[in-house]
């Protein structure tokens, strides 16, 4: 491919991005510390001012997902406060300091009804004085997610929607869909548990390349773990008789 053609393609890609309002004018960047993961995003930067969707199906996965989200939020919240809207909250605030967050910087809004949760998330996303909005709910229809996306396009707030055991994993207008699962930690031969480690699956990302990575949270930042050669050692089935 000749170089002028590549330029044209790059130019067009940028135009498409600006049409989709993903490209930002400001130099605000989220340094996730995960170069490998950032390659999956358009423009190689983590999309801020957008709504990210996380899906988890088990309590263990939900904890891992919240851990990963908190790792991201910890970067954002340095510049402000976050609002956590949920209907069934189990988060334990003292644990947030592990992710570099002052738990008092997070304002929790605990509601019962799904509709109220959505309303509160939308209102919070419209408020540009907030650094991040975390919403925990199970169902999110396309229309509802579109509303949230429109809200952040105005305010440039970053939203994380954590859907715990949704009935169906329907299409949404969110910029990405993540699935986080816990992985066995590595204590480097020492007894006991190591740093939290997750399997981060980026299932969908607008204008990017989905992928799967293994990530560890240690020393207050994410660390990419080179994927080990997976050797599936299945336990031999015991033969009858």
């Amino acid at each position: 491919m000749s170089s002028p053609k590549q330029d044209i393609i790059l130019q067009l890609q940028k135009e498409v991005l600006s049409m989709q309002r993903l490209k930002k004018g400001s130099a605000q960047n989220l340094n996730t510390g995960l170069w490998e993961v950032e390659q999956a995003f358009p423009d190689h930067t983590f999309p801020l001012g957008a709504v990210h969707e996380f899906i988890s199906n088990a309590s263990e996965d939900a904890a891992a997902t919240n851990g990963f989200m908190m790792g991201l939020t910890g970067q954002l919240i340095k510049k402000g406060t976050a609002i956590w809207v949920s209907s069934k909250r189990t988060i334990f605030p003292p644990a947030l300091s592990l992710f570099g967050i002052d738990p008092e910087r997070i304002i929790f809004v605990d509601l019962w009804r799904q509709k109220e949760v959505l309303w509160a998330i939308e209102e919070a996303l419209k408020c540009d004085a907030i650094a991040a909005v975390i919403g925990e709910l199970s169902e999110l229809s396309f229309t509802e997610s579109r509303r949230l996306q429109l809200a952040v396009e105005q305010s440039r707030v970053t939203g994380f929607i954590h859907r715990y055991s949704p009935r169906i994993e329907n299409v949404t207008a969110c910029v990405s869909r993540w699935k986080i699962k816990p992985l066995a930690s590595n204590a480097n031969g020492l007894p006991g548990m190591g740093f939290p480690r997750w399997n981060v699956q980026l299932q969908k990302v607008r204008n990017g390349k989905p992928g799967e990575w293994q990530v560890e949270w240690s020393g207050g930042q994410f660390r990419y773990i080179a994927r080990p050669v997976i050797s599936i050692t299945e336990t031999p089935k015991r033969k009858a008789g």
Binding site: A63, N66, K79, F92, S97, E123, D128, L183, S185
Partner: protein, 482 residues
């Protein structure tokens, strides 16, 4: 009563209530009084005087209720109306009478309106409450006491006009002091010795030498705005316009005085006499018209204008000084500020209730359930720092749930555990971390906490309540690590 039962209009009747086993008359109509029937008589005696007398039950509290209702009605004459039990109303008419063209037309209007309702009223205007009280009840010459002429007006009146106790009145009567003028010039010392302090203070009150306060039925709001409308308003749009105008006036005043309101009440006085009101509260003092309007906007739909609203009022019962800037704590990103967050929370609290919003601060307890406390306000700062050295799970179950374990004795972490019917094989474990009961708060078993990682890499926080030496301890799951 006549108003409700017109057939009683020309019949003498009394209100009676039981007292010490007898029916005693509490109120009597002028027709009945003309026949010599008076308050505090026993019904049986009155029946003897007047067999056709109608006796109605006097329900306790009904007179007070009626009086309160009348007092509220009288708010049209002045904003300061007080109830003077058992049978009077006190109106502070300063600066009000000229609207009716002077004191005489003012009184005439009150009398005419109330008489039309069927009430038997007497009125008086004086500089002091005491003088007005006396002239109103016992005066015979003129209901209007000219400024500074209280003592002249009082001279001819009986001592009862001074609001004295029956015991004192009786003694005055015995001594032949039938009029105020006969003792008003006596030496104060002599009066005090014979009749006590009350007579002097009552005299001073009537003459304006002693200050007397009344308890208005509607407390006077320092921040109060009023908007009458030419035509009755019936539309939501009209209400919004009225609300906006009032808010602008109120906020203008608040800004000038460097105050912010925490509570605000918007009242709509309907043509049919019913008052509709909506109230809002804010998380931090606010003087922002747009924000306050947004809070009210959520509730405007609850106002039923019916035939129309004639007067709108806006009160700010709770105001606070606006703190210079409380934003330092939050260190907001460029352009944003704490006010915006406060306003967002106000909207959420206004719609979904203030109980929904929580913020947590560390509390000095090791016991996990007690290690956080709810912050009282948006700006409350932590007294102590968060403990970073303890491993705490990101998810904590509201109540520990029991699990079944296979565990080597006595203090090792489990090898297997079953939670919700699923078997987890323990791969790695940390612990135990013993957390003792805080005996000054609660008694019970201590907990030995273990951090557990199973074969899927999932991490749990388990504990054993008590030890194996004390019998068969229960195992619980209390949280999930990230």
């Amino acid at each position: 009563m006549v108003r409700r039962k017109p057939e009683l209009k020309d019949v003498p009747f009394v209100m009676a209530a039981p007292e010490r086993g007898r029916m005693v008359i509490k109120a009597a109509t002028p027709l009945a009084q003309a026949k010599g029937i008076d308050v505090e008589m026993v019904v049986a005696d009155c029946r003897a005087i007047m067999p056709e007398l109608q006796v109605l039950d006097d329900k306790p509290g009904i007179a007070e209720k009626l009086l309160n209702g009348l007092a509220e009605w009288c708010l049209r004459y002045t904003p300061v109306v007080a109830v003077d039990l058992p049978n009077g109303l006190i109106l502070d008419v300063s600066g009000c009478t000229h609207l009716w063209g002077g004191e005489r037309p003012y009184l005439k209007d009150i009398i005419a309106k109330l008489t039309a309702f069927g009430y038997d009223v007497r009125v008086a205007i004086a500089d002091t409450i005491g003088a007005a009280w006396g002239v109103c009840r016992y005066g015979t010459i003129s209901p209007i006491v000219a400024p500074g002429k209280q003592s002249d007006a009082l001279l001819q009146l009986p001592p009862a006009a001074l609001r004295l106790d029956p015991a004192i009145l009786e003694r005055l009567d015995k001594l032949g002091l039938y009029e105020v003028q006969s003792f008003i010039d006596m030496p104060r010392k002599a009066l005090r010795r014979r009749f006590g302090d009350t007579i002097l203070s009552r005299l001073d009150m009537a003459l304006g030498l002693e200050h007397e306060v009344i308890q208005p039925i509607q407390p006077i709001e320092p921040y109060h705005e009023r908007l009458p409308s030419l035509e009755p308003i019936r539309t939501a749009k009209g209400i919004e316009i009225a609300l906006k105008q009032l808010l602008e006036k109120l906020c203008q005043r608040l800004i000038e005085e460097e105050k912010g309101l925490r509570k605000c009440v918007f009242k709509c006085y309907r043509i049919d006499g019913i008052v509709q009101q909506i109230a809002i509260g804010t998380n931090r003092p606010s003087q922002n018209v747009v924000h306050l309007f947004k809070l009210f906007e959520l509730k405007i739909a609850t106002i039923a204008p019916a035939l129309g609203i004639e007067v709108f009022t806006l009160d700010a019962p709770v105001t606070e000084d606006v703190a210079a800037m409380q934003d330092t704590l939050w260190n907001f990103k460029e352009g944003g500020n704490g006010t915006a967050v406060g306003e967002l929370l106000d909207r959420i609290a206004g719609k979904l209730g203030v109980d929904a919003i929580h913020r947590y601060l560390p509390d000095e307890h090791y016991w996990p359930e007690r290690s956080v406390k709810v912050a009282a306000s948006l700006t409350e700062k932590a007294q102590t720092s968060w403990r970073a050295d303890l491993t705490r799970p990101i998810h904590l179950l509201p109540k520990p749930e029991t699990i079944e374990v296979t565990v080597p004795m006595p203090d090792y972490p489990p090898m297997l555990f079953i939670y919700k019917g699923v078997l987890h094989t323990v791969q790695k474990a940390d612990g135990p971390e013993r957390i003792e009961q805080e005996w000054w708060l609660q008694h019970g078993l201590y907990r030995d906490y273990y951090c557990i990682e199973d074969d899927n890499g999932a991490r749990y926080w388990l504990f054993r309540a008590g030890s194996y030496e004390q019998g068969d301890p229960q195992w619980f799951i209390h949280g999930f690590f990230a």
